[in-house]
Symmetry: C2
């Protein structure tokens, strides 16, 4: 037998800039064209964003090709949407020298990032997140993906954006429910990384909910700092990045079991409560934080009630297919204290006995919040 070793050279360090401001949208295209003058730009957005006038504000008189994902929302985050978009790009004769601009929330960003990752073996993506959740979370860090008919993010890729532009004025287009549920990722960031930030959020939630530009720019900045600090250490989710999944294991399952009638943020809020219950069962939970969280979610008008159609069995079935599952059982991110994730022997995701998870789900389902 003969053997040859093929070397894969190292990839050099790289970086991208997140620009945060108020009323930025109208000037972004000029900035992008200056950054990448040779790229044929292509804009991806969805029906809601277009209807809210943001596409027009971005494009102004420009004749860039675009695609409007319709209907807006999680239901379109499916491989079939990707197929339609890619065929539309091909019909527009876009080559490997194109770049995708994602204008919208997490769904648009995830789809656009994935399309860019796989179109002709990869083209750049520029993220312009327009929702609380995407500005805080999904636009940064390079995770992309779409769902299959069976599960969430079955298809995906790590594809870092070339640039991110956050215009907090776009948040005005969101209704109260969308805006508030999107803030759950912000609370998650405070919980896993910064106790002072958690205190800031409790003190300033009223102004944030009132969409005052100052606090909005501040939390955008804080969120990006938390997310960036984690992503920089572990861009491909080998270990520490998992802490961003706090509240997401049971959260995702509830979201999926509800057939996406429960919004992502609301599901994560439920998942955060579930994690707290598990923490308490393991002996290091914090009852004070649980009541603070419940108070905060109440102020944000986020219901933690789970519909009766979602059974324990359904949740267990879904978490066993979690993409981070090992031997068909997920590992959980847990808090050691507010602002600090539990880390054991360098590991941030932990095996929790089935019985404890089942009991926590029982409490979750029975409790009336």
């Amino acid at each position: 037998m003969r053997k040859i070793d093929v070397k894969i050279p190292s990839r050099p360090k790289d970086s991208y800039t997140i620009a945060i401001g108020n009323n930025l949208l109208g000037s972004i295209l000029t900035k992008v064209k200056k950054r990448m003058p040779k790229k044929n730009l292509f804009v991806l957005t969805d029906a809601n964003v277009a209807k809210a006038g943001l596409l027009k504000k971005l494009l102004k008189s420009s004749k860039l090709p675009y695609y409007i994902i319709s209907p807006a929302g999680e239901r379109s985050k499916h491989i079939q949407t990707v197929t339609k978009i890619i065929e539309s790009m091909e019909k527009k004769a876009l080559g490997r020298d194109c770049a995708v601009i994602a204008l919208g929330g997490g769904t648009v960003g995830d789809i656009a990032g994935f399309v860019a990752a796989i179109y002709k073996r990869g083209v750049p993506v520029i993220q312009i997140p327009t929702t609380t959740v995407s500005q805080a979370d999904s636009a940064i860090g390079g995770k992309t993906g779409v769902d299959s008919s069976i599960s969430k993010n079955a298809y995906g890729s790590f594809h870092h954006p070339s640039a991110v532009y956050i215009d907090v004025s776009t948040l005005k287009t969101l209704n109260k429910k969308q805006f508030n549920t999107g803030l759950v990722e912000t609370i998650k960031h405070a919980l896993i990384a910064d106790e002072k930030y958690f205190i800031y959020l409790q003190k300033n939630m009223k102004d944030i909910i009132a969409k005052k530009p100052g606090p909005l720019e501040y939390i955008a900045l804080k969120n990006c700092q938390v997310k960036a600090s984690v992503v920089e250490i572990d861009p491909y989710e080998k270990n520490k990045r998992r802490i961003l999944n706090y509240g997401h294991t049971i959260g995702h399952a509830v979201e999926s079991a509800s057939n996406y009638r429960i919004l992502h943020g609301q599901a994560v809020a439920i998942g955060i409560i579930a994690a707290n219950i598990i923490e308490q069962k393991l002996g290091f939970g914090d009852k004070k934080r649980l009541s603070e969280l419940k108070k905060l979610f109440k102020q944000m008008n986020i219901s933690l009630k789970i519909p009766k159609s979602i059974t324990k069995r359904k949740i267990l079935d879904i978490i066993s297919r979690d993409k981070k599952a090992v031997n068909k059982w997920p590992r959980f991110v847990l808090l050691a204290e507010t602002g600090k994730v539990l880390c054991k022997k360098g590991d941030y995701a932990h095996n929790v006995k089935r019985k404890i998870v089942e009991d926590a789900i029982d409490i979750l389902l029975k409790q009336s919040f």
Copy 2:
């Protein structure tokens, strides 16, 4: 406006091993399980390979889950096949801790590589190429991809294999046409990298066609060396890797215009002749090499005749949508001499005037080989 820079850390050097031998197949699974004991393995193959008994030889008594792509061949290299495979993997509850084994030719390897690249944001792939073309070319280097309903490799990703196992005895399962057309990539390797290897091929083509294990192992080794030397320098096809596309620009177009009735190798042979004609028109072509190539292709029983249904217009239309096109016009890899690719100012892909390409296509279409 506030700005944050997000650092993407460098990726360390990496490598993978290509093992080459005769009658290896039965022992590969043991080797893979030793290499990655924690991975849940999943085998992807196609109907032809399974029918030829290779799947059985690989699996022996093992109960690994597998998926058989049907029908075998280019027609299945489509995003719809990927969707079916991924849903099958989900139904088998395979998590992110699985690894995909690709057993088959270029189509299987490309599909499996792409599936592995995007399944739950990426899992390892082990390539076991079983055809002349995949052993020489597609199994090495990490290019993966599938077609859309509009064009070839519209979907794709760079995803390096974790290991490659080449068993030349698997080539016995190929019929003469498959075997011979697959050798065109071997000739391409000699043309772009090694004049002596081109002379070896001319001298030993009879033994190669007779599938003698010695020469087969030798060309497998040489091919991997040529391919690896290029891929190591430029894994993500920024520049030098493009030389592997020699003969592929017009080759792909002819293949696509024939609706894949013309086999890939045959199409590349036509593309190599086209490149030679372009080289001659540009003043540095080699008539001697052209006649050597025609002689070699004749010995290999590869027809260079293009069906009448494939018009100049069709070819031009397809090459303008080439994924390496810049401003809707492809750039061509050309030979300066046998074994040496033309490089101008560090560039390996060249702009060729439309008129010259059109004239070359005219000659190609009119010529009776």
